[in-house]
């Protein structure tokens, strides 16, 4: 996905002189050819995440369209106030792109984990919040949003899926339909686990890459179902539940630090977000119709 991020910014910069890249000493080698092709538009600014956001906001004020990029917890949780005030309140449409969330750097411990980014940024007025799951989604959504006039958050993953989805900004995808009255909703790169879990189960499966604005019309279509939200972060279930009167369940993160090292797959397995764990949650709901 990061490679796609680089390829799309390179393509955008080729036709739009306002595009620039501001890095926090991450993904630097990958952007060397962008740097060569776009002198004056590439800044490896330093390990100073607060300033990355503020400086990018100031650049935006002069007409530029920068993409700011580093590791998710440092750019979103550490710099939340800069995003809130310098991007959202000031109405400067900075593009914020991160890597590492939720558990791509499982081995680094909780300092490098990030699962609140989508939830907290979704709460800021004017923000667009995206969790693309595939390279195609990254490309389409970056192109759709980079000059939207609003600050945009795009969370990348090192574990993309390759599922064909609706690439339109702000729209979800119905990947399969069942008759049981149970709908599973999910977002981002966890999708393959959800698909494997539901492979032979009689459920609807709905997928999102855009958490704000939420595709409320699509959620409404399933308002009479019991909805199980499966997500390896916070934010999606809250977005879905803004549609009033739903019956939802959340199968996701526990209230604890998942600091067991290993890989993202180890973490997902331990908290029930591998395919068997998700399948268990879905079948439990299917088998308790009164729930």
């Amino acid at each position: 996905m990061r490679r796609q991020f680089k390829e799309t910014t390179t393509a955008l910069a080729a036709t739009d002189p306002r595009v620039a890249v501001v890095l926090g000493d991450v993904s630097v080698y990958m952007f060397m050819d962008f740097h060569r092709a776009n002198p004056g538009k590439f800044y490896n600014m330093g390990i100073c995440e607060n300033s990355l956001i503020s400086v990018a906001a100031g650049m935006t004020a002069t007409g530029m369209r920068p993409f700011v990029h580093t590791i998710a917890p440092f750019l979103t949780e550490r710099s939340l106030e800069q995003i809130k005030l310098d991007c959202a309140y000031n109405q400067w449409p900075v593009n914020i792109v991160t890597c590492g969330a939720s558990f791509d750097y499982a081995w680094d411990g909780a300092t490098h984990h990030c699962y609140t980014d989508l939830a907290i940024l979704r709460l800021l007025p004017n923000m667009e919040v995206l969790q693309p799951g595939s390279r195609r989604e990254v490309d389409a959504l970056m192109r759709a949003t980079y000059d939207s006039g609003k600050p945009t958050y795009i969370r990348l993953s090192d574990h993309p899926h390759d599922v064909e989805t609706n690439l339109e900004f702000g729209k979800g995808t119905v990947l399969r339909e069942g008759k049981s009255g149970v709908t599973v909703m999910t977002a981002g790169p966890i999708l393959p686990n959800v698909m494997a879990a539901c492979e032979d189960l009689d459920v609807n499966l709905v997928y999102f890459h855009t958490l704000k604005p939420m595709d409320r019309a699509l959620v409404e279509r399933f308002r009479h179902d019991r909805i199980l939200v499966v997500h390896d972060a916070f934010g999606l279930q809250e977005a879905i539940n803004e549609v009033p009167g739903l019956r939802t369940w959340y199968h996701g993160l526990p209230d604890q630090f998942c600091a067991w090292y290993g890989t993202v797959h180890d973490i997902r397995a331990r908290i029930g977000l591998d395919a068997p764990g998700i399948r268990k949650a879905v079948t439990t709901l299917l088998e308790t119709p009164s729930a």
Binding site: A20, N50, A61, L85, N90
Partner: protein, 260 residues
């Protein structure tokens, strides 16, 4: 004291009295800095979005009332409009909002943000090839924030020569975390440092108008509450306090005394 700056201080007192809002001592320490900057900057109140304008960011956003007095002095709006300072639905909040007021380049209030924004503006102006300047005013209390020093490092590392950081050295932070020897600190970060009397308009204008080869930090030696003895002698009591009618009369009398 410069007669225009004296009049603007009187306006600040009147508005604080009528509205019940305002950080008067803070505003009084920066009136000359703000006024001199706007006297030197290339700007046009009839065209606040003019691409070739110089830009000013009030990083210490709580000096908004002083900022409004200076913007009104430069015809961005009428000072009479500022009477609604802090009132419901007024355009004039206790911290300025760039989406509500012409001439305000950035909405500030939380300390340590504006200087980073100003660095980005200076960088963007350079990339655009415009021969413009960016000024930002920061406080000594604000300089407790680590983000201030991040921004100073970034500004020097990218080699800006179109950014002037005005440091309001009113020594207010002696009460908790003082920033001693600010000139040395900015110099050690790579800035061209100029130290100047922050209440001398002509000296400030001369410094602001000088060409720079790097990031310029102007250490403006100021007095918090400058112009009224009561404020200077009681800065903590008056940090965010508005005068009643009797106090207003006394402060105006002090302000207009022949010697301060």
């Amino acid at each position: 004291m410069d007669s225009t700056c004296r009049r603007m201080r009187a306006e600040i007192l009147d508005i604080s009295f009528s509205s019940g809002h305002g950080h008067i001592p803070t505003c009084f320490s920066v009136v000359e800095c703000l006024y001199a900057a706007y006297e030197v900057m290339r700007h046009d109140p009839k065209r606040p979005d003019w691409a070739e304008r110089d830009r000013f960011v009030l990083s210490k956003g709580h000096a908004a009332l002083g900022y409004y007095a200076v913007l009104a002095q430069h015809s961005y709006f009428d000072i009479k409009e500022v009477a609604g300072f802090g009132a419901y639905n007024s355009r004039f909040g206790c911290h300025a909002d760039r989406t509500k007021l012409p001439g305000v380049e950035a909405s500030t209030g939380s300390l340590g943000h504006g200087i980073g924004i100003a660095v980005g503006m200076a960088l963007g102006e350079r990339v655009a090839g415009r021969q413009t300047k960016v000024f930002t005013l920061i406080g000594d209390g604000e300089s407790n924030e680590g983000s201030v020093w991040e921004a100073v490092m970034v500004a020097n590392n990218v080699g800006l020569n179109n950014l002037t950081i005005i440091y309001d050295h009113n020594k207010s932070q002696g009460r908790c975390l003082p920033v001693t020897n600010p000139g040395e600190r900015f110099r050690s970060f790579g800035c061209e440092v100029v130290e100047v009397n922050g209440h001398n308009v002509d000296a400030l204008k001369e410094v602001f108008a000088r060409p720079a080869t790097g990031v310029r930090a102007v250490i403006a030696d100021t007095v918090k509450g400058y112009g009224c003895k009561t404020l200077v002698d009681n800065v903590n009591e008056w940090h965010r306090k508005s005068p009643d009618a009797e106090q207003l009369a006394k402060l105006l009398e002090e302000l207009h005394a022949p010697a301060i």
